[in-house]
């Protein structure tokens, strides 16, 4: 009896597993989605653009590299993004597969619309991976996803590469969906995502390119301001997320390019004598000298390095202070998440503000310091 039951169970497990899922679609019946773009239509509805691997056209599949494009793009409209997405199977004849999606792009019109619900579909759809990258288009998401980036290129993969590789050099930010969603749902949240634009083409018929166009910063669900590409590294440094970032600056009689190899940002919160919040941000960088170009052929000395470190620290402090002033005090975007940290360190005080009807922390003062240490690996720097 025991042997029969063992054999029966093993047989069922080995050979009947496929029968257990009679309604599961085969891979060639699935629409493998690479990217989803969301724009607002003029009447307030949603225009959803889906870029998917081309499994429909002749020449796709095994002969994919002979086909003109690897992907197909579909645009659908609806009163909501979810309604538009629901039309996808009837338009394509395929069952959408979201688990391979790399990118979720908002058009500017969608990002600047404070109404709820644009993210809802993707947050409720469990097959969308939580670490899918979120970005915004300078114009429309449809324009980016329909761009002709060249043969045998998956547009979404190309854009994802721009985000991820650029983050290592401090030029772009690859923001995952879980981080973006947590911030947009947070009462103090300051979400941000990379802004992408189509690059200019020089010749007719030339393939289009995608380029970073700064960062789009949100306060809650509403896009409030744009951080320029030049200030993106400074913002990433403030968040402690700058990777091996390159910085060029001009000192007294020389130009220098350094590469940060370590970025550490410490944010402390407290209160001043009058009880108003006091924030201090200390950002430290350790840099290697990449290039030193003196105006008059002078050698690099310890004094020059000290001067360069001080000059760079002052320049970064000034740029970061302007950025913080514009975004935090001007637009109300809490770039360094001061309010969250303040709530964590002083919950009773913070709660008393909200209980008394004040929905934001009172006017605060923020101190900002950058410290830079510059070294030159593999070569000794002579003294004065």
């Amino acid at each position: 009896m025991k042997i029969i039951s063992v054999l029966f169970t093993v047989f069922i497990l080995l050979f009947a597993g496929g029968c257990a899922l009679p309604q599961t679609a085969e891979l060639n019946d699935r629409l493998i989605i690479e990217a989803v773009g969301i724009d607002r239509t003029p009447d307030g509805g949603a225009l959803v653009t889906v870029q998917a691997l081309d499994s429909i056209s002749p020449g796709s599949g095994e002969n994919a590299y002979n086909s003109e494009k690897l992907t197909q793009t579909f645009s659908l409209t609806g009163r909501t993004a979810a309604e538009a997405m629901e039309k996808l199977p009837s338009v394509t004849g395929l069952l959408p597969l979201y688990s391979q999606a790399r990118l979720l792009i908002f058009g500017r019109s969608a990002a600047e619309d404070p109404s709820d619900g644009l993210l809802d579909f993707f947050l409720r759809e469990y097959t969308v991976r939580p670490d899918v990258c979120v970005a915004a288009a300078e114009n429309t998401a449809e324009e980016l996803l329909r761009a002709d980036l060249g043969q045998n290129i998956i547009g979404a993969a190309e854009m994802e590469k721009i985000l991820v590789s650029g983050e290592n050099t401090g030029l772009t930010a690859a923001v995952p969906l879980y981080e973006f969603a947590a911030q947009t749902e947070n009462e103090n949240g300051c979400a941000y995502c990379q802004l992408l634009k189509l690059g200019n083409t020089s010749f007719p018929g030339e393939k289009q390119t995608v380029a970073p166009a700064g960062l789009l910063v949100f306060s809650g669900k509403e896009a409030r301001s744009v951080i320029s590409p030049e200030d993106t590294p400074v913002f990433l440094m403030l968040r402690g997320k700058a990777g091996k970032i390159s910085l060029s600056f001009r000192g007294d009689g020389y130009s220098m390019t350094v590469r940060a190899i370590k970025n550490r940002t410490r944010i402390k919160t407290g209160t001043d004598n009058k009880g108003a919040p006091l924030y201090s941000t200390d950002c430290s960088l350790v840099c290697d000298i990449t290039e030193y170009v003196p105006d008059d052929g002078r050698r690099l000395t310890e004094g020059t390095v000290r001067n360069a470190a001080q000059t760079l620290a002052e320049e970064l402090t000034a740029r970061a202070a302007k950025l913080l002033g514009d975004c935090y005090f001007g637009e109300g975007c809490d770039l360094c998440r001061y309010a969250d940290r303040f709530r964590l360190s002083r919950p009773a005080y913070y709660k008393s503000l909200f209980d008394s009807g004040i929905k934001k922390t009172p006017p605060a003062s923020a101190a900002l310091t950058f410290s830079v240490s510059i070294r030159r690996t593999g070569r000794e720097i002579p003294g004065e």
Binding site: S5, A20, Q23, T24, Y126, A182, E185, R341, Y350
Partner: protein, 338 residues
């Protein structure tokens, strides 16, 4: 641990404290069972019932059989919701659930020793996967994602703690497994609960620090966390964790089926036949498939007071009731008292 307590109504700061509340709650709920083990170290819970009220032993056996079938049903239904929500959205889950229970019945028929050895493997695999996941996620943490503990009062945390504790049918299982285990049983139970709570603390801390309120409010926070974990050598750690979950549900179901069948065998005073486990698995499968065809139905039931009431009856009230009655002294073969 795999599914969020109370639909994820906790704040990130409270979620980190949840394992602490869980540990305190489970240790408190274990006290009656541990005292019974102390009173009857060779026979455990059933021996104590036999000694206290021989006439009620059959009813107690039948109660615990239903108790563990109920536990297996909740475990299976919870897993069924997961595979129907995340893995195979467009497919019915009943065939997969049936396969799982079939395998669990086979494992149950192999005996408690085989299950114990399987648990040993599972423990090691779980430990390694938790450690790897933690290592890959530490670089993604941001302490600003945490919220102050008990910021919204103690109520949500206590409710979630009670919900978590009431899923721990293993406490009663420990009381029934006394006669087939060696060593210091009470210490093993305490260490098992502590180790589980420590692992849960680490994982909830990471969930809160990496994903903030987004992850904590998900129906399957741990799955969301692991989906965010990825390294250069393995980007899909969630697949490994899903496998681990399948494995742990299989072992848990097998153990509960074994205990339920044992109790029925004890009640009818007949040796167990292998088909008893298949009947038990059918008794789990049918209500699971019929009562919870959708995830909404399951969460409505899991959020009700019924599972908590069943847990408290089998783990706390019944053992406590037996403890309060002094054991009847048995008469030995030579007429002496034993």
């Amino acid at each position: 641990m795999f599914t969020s307590p109370l639909g994820g109504s906790l704040s990130p700061g409270d979620a980190v404290l949840l394992p602490v509340v869980f540990l305190i709650g489970t240790l408190l709920c274990s006290v009656p069972v541990m005292l019974l083990i102390r009173r009857s170290p060779k026979q455990g819970l059933t021996g104590a019932i036999q000694d206290t009220a021989p006439g009620a032993a059959v009813f107690a056996d039948l109660f615990y059989a239903l108790f563990f079938l109920f536990g297996a049903m909740l475990t299976t239904a919870r897993f069924s919701v997961f595979i129907g929500t995340v893995l195979f959205r467009d497919s019915p889950t009943a065939p997969l659930t049936a396969l799982l229970l079939l395998a669990a019945a086979l494992a149950a028929s192999e005996g408690t020793e085989a299950l114990g050895r399987t648990c040993g493997i599972l423990f090691a695999v779980t430990g390694v996967s938790v450690a790897v996941s933690a290592l890959t996620l530490t670089g993604k943490t941001d302490m600003a994602n945490l919220t102050p503990p008990l910021y919204n009062g103690v109520g949500p945390l206590l409710n979630a703690g009670l919900d978590s504790v009431s899923r721990t049918y293993e406490i009663a299982a420990a009381g029934l497994l006394v006669n087939v285990t060696n060593g210091k049983k009470k210490h093993v139970l305490i260490w098992a609960l502590t180790a589980f709570s420590a692992a849960a603390f680490l994982l909830f801390l990471l969930t809160a620090a990496v994903t903030g309120s987004f992850g904590i409010r998900q129906t399957f926070p741990l799955y969301t966390l692991i989906a965010c974990a990825g390294t250069d050598f393995s980007e899909r750690l969630d697949a490994a964790v899903t496998g681990l979950w399948v494995f742990s549900v299989f072992v848990k179901d097998a153990l509960f089926l074994r205990l339920a069948a044992d109790r029925i065998g004890n009640a009818v005073k007949k040796p167990l036949r292998p088909y008893a486990f298949y009947i038990a698995s059918a008794a789990v499968f049918l209500p699971t498939a019929l009562l919870f065809p959708t995830s909404d139905r399951f969460f409505a039931f899991a959020g009700s007071k019924i599972p908590t009431a069943v847990f408290l009856t089998g783990t706390v009230l019944l053992p406590l009731f037996i403890l309060l009655i002094p054991p009847k002294q048995r008469t030995g073969k030579n007429g002496g008292m034993t």
